[in-house]
C-alpha cells in the first residue's frame, strides 16, 4: 500500500505490474473437493433433470436450466451435483449456484468437439462464454448491435495483478490462434491488442491484430480509459460498450479460445493472482468454481475476524463476505487484507481540500460532484459535473482526506441512472 | 366554542407565532427592530390593523364577491394603515419618523393579508377577533423580543417609550456594568439576519406542539 510520504506535495503515482523479470511459475490446484458453478440466470420453476441433485456431470458438459435456449455453464469437473440454489451477485445480478462434488479422475464430455465441427460461432459461444477470462461471445452474434472493434487488453486493469500480462507473455501461440479465430468468424472489422508500453516491441507485428501500447501509469489500462484513448469520446449516459460496437476481452479469454480449438476441449483452469496480507503475490491456477478458501489454504493465507477478502485488485475489486465464494471465470485476483491495514470510509463532509481534483485522470470536479451525489442528485451530477467522464479508477477515494467513498457514490449514481431511464422510457 | 376561541387566540402566541414559526412579515421584523420602542410600536400598529381588518373582513365576508376579494381586502387594510399612520404622525411623531416607510408597508405585510384571506374570510367575527389579536400580539411579542436582544447587545439599552417621545424609562446596562461595550453589529442590517436566524434556531429546538 502506498501511503502519504512526510513531504506530500506531489500527487501519488501508481504503475501497473510489468513482469519484467523472469515469469513466475503458477501453483496448480488440481482437484478441489467441491466446486460451485454459477449459471448466469435466475432460478426458475422446473429445472431439467440434469440439474437434479445426485445427477452426475462430466467435465466440459454444458449445463442449462432446461432445454429451452438460454444461458449455460460448462462444468469444470466431473462429479455429482449436490445442491442447486439461488445466488445474488453484485448490482442485483441473479445466478443459480450449482455445487458439484468432484471425482478424482476427469471424464470428458464430447459436446464441444461436436460443436467445433459445425464451426458456427453461436454454437461455440454457449461453450466458450464461460472459459477463463469470461469472453462475452454472445455479443458477437447479436445482429442488432454489430461489434466493429474487439479490444483485447493484454495488461491488467488493476494494480498488483499479473494474470493477463502473464498469459500474454507465456501463451502467445494460443493468443495468436484465438485472434485468428475471432478474425475469421466474428466479423469484427478490427481487433486491437493493448499491451503495456514497455513490452510493445515484443508483440508488435506478431498477431493478426493491431497492437497498441498503453501507458503504464494507472489508470490508463481501465477499459473506460482505453476506450477514451482509442475513440476520443466517453460512454455517455445510457450508452454501453456493446451499442458503441466495441467488445472488450481479456487476453486470457482469447488464449482460452485458441486453446479450446486446438484441444477440442473447453479450458477450465483459471489463472488467479493471489495477494497475501503482506503484499506478496503468487500465481495460482485453479479449476473454475473452486472455493476461494481452497486457494487461500494452498497459498498459506489464513483470514481472521474483520479481515477483508477482495476479488480483483485493490482499486476496483469487489469485497466478498465469505471464503466459500467460488473462483469465477472473470476473477483475475484474490486479495487478502489484514484488519489492521483497513482504512474505514467515513461520512465526514467534504472539506474542499482539492486532492481529488489534482489526482483525477478525467479532470472531473470531484469535490462538487460528490456533493451532488451525496444529496442523491444523480441526474444533476451527470448533467453539470461530468459524472459520465469518470473512468472509475478510484484514485479520488484513495486520496480523499475526509475518506468519503467517492467511487462508491459514482458507481451507485451510474447504476441508479441506468435503472431509472428505462422506467421513464416505459412511461412515455 | 369557548375553547376554540381560546385556541385561536393562543395559537398566535406560540404555535403559529408569525416571524418565528410561520416566517412571515420578515421585512418589518428585520427593518425596525433596532430598539424595543420601535419594535413595540410596529407590533402594536400591525396588531391594530390586523384586528380591524379581521373584524371588517369577517363582517363583510358574505358581501364581498370572491373575484374581487383581494382588492377589497387591500382597500380595507390600506384604510386602516393610513389611519394608523395619521394617528401616529399626530401623537407619536418621533416613532413615526423612525418607523418611516415601514408603516405604509404594513399594507403588503403578508401576515395581515394572509389572516384576512385564510382566516377572517372564512370565520365569524368573534373568532376573527381572537385570531387577529392572537397573531398580532404574537407578532408584537416577537418583535419586542428580537428588538430587545438586538438593542441590549447592540446599544446596551432598553428603550420602552424613550425620549424624545416621553422621557420614559430607558434601562441602560452601562450603568450596571460599566465595562460593557455595545456590540454595534447587532443593530446593523446583517446583525438583524444573524439574530433572527439564531432565534429561529432556538425556537426550533423547542418542539412546536
Amino acid at each position: 500500500m502506498l501511503s502519504k510520504p512526510f513531504f506530500g506535495y506531489a500527487n501519488p503515482k501508481f504503475t501497473y505490474e510489468l513482469l519484467s523479470t523472469s515469469l513466475p511459475r503458477p501453483v496448480t490446484i488440481t482437484s478441489p473437493p467441491v466446486v460451485t458453478l454459477m449459471l448466469p440466470r435466475k432460478m426458475g420453476g422446473a429445472a431439467s433433470p440434469q440439474l437434479k441433485p445426485g445427477t452426475r456431470v462430466l467435465t466440459g458438459q454444458l449445463l442449462t436450466w432446461d432445454d429451452a435456449p438460454g444461458p449455460g455453464v460448462v462444468s469444470s469437473v466431473t462429479g455429482t451435483i449436490r445442491q442447486v440454489s439461488a445466488h445474488l451477485g453484485d448490482y442485483g445480478r441473479k445466478y443459480t449456484a450449482i455445487v458439484v462434488e468432484t471425482e478424482k479422475a476427469d471424464e470428458f464430455d464430447e459436446g464441444f468437439a461436436a460443436a467445433c465441427e459445425s464451426a458456427d460461432l453461436s454454437g461455440l459461444a454457449d461453450y466458450l462464454s464461460g472459459v477463463p477470462g469470461s469472453p462475452d461471445l454472445h455479443q458477437l452474434t447479436d445482429p442488432q448491435k454489430p461489434i466493429h472493434t474487439i479490444i483485447i487488453y493484454g495488461g491488467d486493469t488493476d494494480l498488483l495483478v499479473d494474470t493477463n500480462l502473464f498469459v500474454v507473455k507465456s501463451r502467445m501461440a494460443d493468443i495468436a490462434k484465438g485472434i485468428h479465430l475471432l478474425k475469421a468468424k466474428a466479423g469484427a472489422e478490427k481487433i486491437v491488442l493493448t499491451v503495456p508500453g514497455e513490452s510493445f516491441q515484443n508483440f508488435d507485428g506478431h498477431f493478426e491484430a493491431e497492437v497498441i501500447a498503453v501507458p503504464n501509469a494507472y489508470p490508463y489500462g481501465q477499459p473506460l480509459m482505453i476506450f477514451y484513448q482509442r475513440f476520443n469520446r466517453i460512454l455517455d449516459q445510457g450508452q454501453t460498450f456493446q451499442d458503441q460496437g466495441v467488445l472488450f476481452m481479456r487476453a486470457e479469454a482469447v488464449a482460452a479460445i485458441g486453446q479450446a480449438l486446438t484441444e477440442k476441449r473447453v479450458p477450465n483452469e483459471k489463472l488467479v493472482t493471489v495477494l497475501d496480507k503482506q503484499g506478496r503475490k503468487r500465481l495460482v491456477s485453479a479449476r473454475i468454481g473452486t472455493p476461494i478458501g481452497e486457494i487461500l489454504k494452498a497459498t498459506g493465507i489464513t483470514l481472521q475476524e474483520r479481515d477483508r477478502l477482495v476479488l480483483g485488485g485493490p482499486m476496483t475489486g469487489t469485497a466478498v463476505f465469505s471464503e466459500d465464494q467460488p473462483v469465477m471465470a472473470d476473477t483475475d485476483a484474490i486479495m487478502a487484507q489484514d484488519a489492521s491495514r483497513i482504512t474505514a470510509t467515513s461520512d465526514y463532509p467534504c472539506i474542499n481540500c482539492g486532492e481529488c481534483i489534482r489526482v483525477c485522470p478525467a479532470n472531473i470536479a470531484v469535490n462538487i460532484l460528490v456533493r451532488f451525489l451525496e444529496a442523491g442528485e444523480y441526474q444533476e451530477g451527470a448533467d453539470l459535473y461530468d459524472l459520465y467522464a469518470c473512468v472509475e479508477c478510484g484514485l479520488c477515494s484513495f486520496v480523499c482526506t475526509s475518506r468519503i467513498p467517492i467511487l462508491q457514490y459514482i458507481k451507485l449514481a451510474k447504476f441508479e441512472l441506468a435503472r431509472e431511464v428505462p422506467v421513464e422510457e416505459a412511461n412515455e | 366554542m369557548a375553547k376554540s376561541i381560546v385556541q385561536e387566540f393562543t395559537k398566535g402566541l406560540w404555535k403559529e407565532v408569525p416571524p418565528f414559526r410561520l416566517v412571515l412579515g420578515l421585512c418589518p421584523v428585520l427593518g425596525v427592530t433596532t430598539s424595543v420602542q420601535n419594535g413595540l410600536g410596529m407590533g402594536l400598529a400591525t396588531t391594530f390593523v390586523l384586528l380591524c381588518s379581521n373584524i371588517l373582513v369577517s363582517t363583510l365576508r358574505k358581501v364581498i364577491p370572491s373575484k374581487v376579494r383581494i382588492a377589497c381586502y387591500i382597500i380595507i387594510i390600506a384604510t386602516f394603515v393610513i389611519v394608523v399612520e395619521q394617528v401616529m404622525k399626530a401623537f407619536a411623531f418621533p416613532l413615526y419618523q423612525t418607523l418611516g416607510v415601514f408603516i405604509p408597508l404594513i399594507v403588503v405585510n403578508c401576515i395581515v393579508l394572509g389572516r384576512a384571506e385564510a382566516f377572517a374570510s372564512k370565520n365569524g367575527i368573534i373568532l376573527s377577533i381572537a385570531d387577529g389579536l392572537g397573531i398580532g400580539l404574537g407578532f408584537t411579542c416577537s418583535l419586542a423580543a428580537l428588538s430587545a436582544v438586538r438593542e441590549i447587545i447592540g446599544k446596551g439599552t432598553i428603550t420602552i417609550w424613550g425620549a424624545p417621545l416621553f422621557e420614559g424609562p430607558i434601562v441602560n446596562i452601562a450603568h450596571t456594568f460599566p465595562d460593557f461595550v455595545p456590540f454595534e453589529f447587532m443593530v446593523q442590517a446583517p446583525g438583524a439576519f444573524v439574530c433572527l436566524g439564531l432565534m429561529l434556531c432556538m425556537m426550533n429546538l423547542v418542539p412546536s406542539k
Partner: protein, 319 residues
C-alpha cells in the same frame, strides 16, 4: 455458504493514502505555532491569556452548539482549535476577555456551524469574526490605542496606521529586520514574518497548502505595493514594508488558503491569490482602513465559487 468468520465488506478502492481531517488540521496548527510563540515573546503574558482563551472558547462553542443542536461532536477534528488559534493570532494582545469569547462565537457558530459545519463555510471563520467585531468595536481593534499602556522595547506604534496617516517618512525609521523578526505592533501571531514563512513552507512541503495561493497572494500584494510606491514614494510605503506588516503574511499562508473557502483548481487559485493581494493593497492605500487584508480575504472568499468554475475540461467533453 455460512462461515463463522465475519469479513469486512466495503466498496473499492481498498487502499487509502492515510490522510485524515484531524491530521490536516493539527498540522496547520503546528505550522502556526512558531508565529504564535513569537507573538508571546513580543507581547508577554497577556498575549498568552488571549490565545488560550481564544482556543478554549472556540472549542467550547463548538462542543456546546453541537450538543445543543444534537449533532455529532466534531471537536476532535481540531478545526475549532485551529479557528480559535488563528483568531487569537489576529487579535491585539490587550484584547479584553469578552471580545475574545464573542469573537470565537462569531467565528465558530456564525462563521462555520450555521452553514453546516466543517467544509461548508463560505468564508474563513476567523476572518469573518474579525471583520464583524472590528466593525462593531472599532477602538478595541485599534492596535495603537490598545497597546498604549504597554512598555515595549520596539517601535511603539502600528506601522500601517502610521504609514497611512503620515506617509512613508513616518515609517522610514523602522528597520525591515525588526519587522521580519516580529518586533512590531500588530496581531499577536501576525508579526513575525520569519515564523510565518517557515510555517508556510512546512505546509506547502507537506502538501496541506498548495503553493499557488500563498505565492500569488504575495506576488499580487508586492507588485501592487511597488507600483504605488513608484507612483508616489512619499505617500505610499514600499512593497517590503507592506509585505512584513499587518496581516499580509498570515493571510498569505493561513487565512487565504483555508480549505473550504478557497478554490481547488490551479488557475482559479492563482486568480484568487493575486486578487487577494491586489485588493489588500488597494484598501490599504486608497481605502479608509489602514489594514486591508481582512476585507480582501472576505472578498476573495466571495468570488471563490465563481472562479472555481474555471476548470479543465473533463475528458470526452467537446463543449
Amino acid at each position: 455458504m455460512n462461515n463463522p468468520k465475519k469479513l469486512i465488506v466495503s466498496h473499492a478502492p481498498f487502499w487509502h493514502i492515510g490522510s485524515a481531517v484531524p491530521e490536516r488540521n493539527f498540522n496547520i496548527i503546528i505550522a502556526a505555532l512558531p508565529a504564535a510563540l513569537m507573538g508571546l515573546a513580543a507581547f508577554g503574558i497577556p498575549a498568552l491569556a488571549v490565545l488560550s482563551l481564544s482556543v478554549a472558547s472556540a472549542v467550547g462553542w463548538e462542543w456546546g452548539v453541537n450538543a445543543l443542536a444534537k449533532r455529532k461532536n466534531t471537536v476532535g477534528d481540531g478545526h475549532a482549535v485551529l479557528i480559535g488559534l488563528l483568531f487569537g493570532m489576529l487579535l491585539p494582545a490587550a484584547a479584553p476577555w469578552w471580545l475574545v469569547v464573542t469573537g470565537t462565537f462569531t467565528a465558530v457558530v456564525i462563521g462555520k456551524l450555521i452553514f453546516g459545519g466543517i467544509g461548508a463555510n463560505p468564508f474563513n471563520p476567523a476572518v469573518l469574526a474579525y471583520a464583524i467585531l472590528s466593525v462593531a468595536w472599532k477602538t478595541f481593534f485599534d492596535f495603537d490605542a490598545q497597546l498604549i499602556h504597554y512598555s515595549l522595547d520596539f517601535t511603539p506604534f502600528y506601522p500601517l496606521t502610521a504609514a497611512k496617516a503620515f506617509g512613508t517618512r513616518a515609517v522610514a525609521g523602522i528597520p525591515l529586520t525588526e519587522l521580519f523578526f516580529g518586533w512590531q505592533i500588530g496581531g499577536i501571531g501576525a508579526g513575525c514574518g520569519l515564523a510565518l514563512i517557515l510555517g508556510g513552507i512546512y505546509l506547502i512541503a507537506r502538501g496541506f497548502v498548495r503553493w499557488e495561493i500563498p505565492l500569488s497572494f504575495i506576488a499580487g500584494l508586492f507588485i501592487t505595493a511597488a507600483l504605488f510606491h513608484m507612483a508616489a514614494p512619499e505617500v505610499y510605503a514600499g512593497p517590503m514594508f507592506h509585505l512584513l506588516t499587518g496581516f499580509s503574511l498570515i493571510a498569505a499562508f493561513f487565512l487565504a488558503p483555508e480549505d473550504s473557502s478557497s478554490p481547488v483548481n490551479t488557475t482559479p487559485m492563482l486568480i484568487y491569490g493575486t486578487l487577494g493581494g491586489v485588493m489588500t493593497m488597494l484598501i490599504r492605500n486608497m481605502g479608509q482602513y489602514p489594514e486591508g487584508v481582512i476585507f480582501a480575504v472576505l472578498l476573495i472568499n466571495l468570488i471563490n465559487p465563481l472562479v472555481d468554475k474555471i476548470r479543465p475540461k473533463a475528458i470526452g467533453k467537446v463543449a
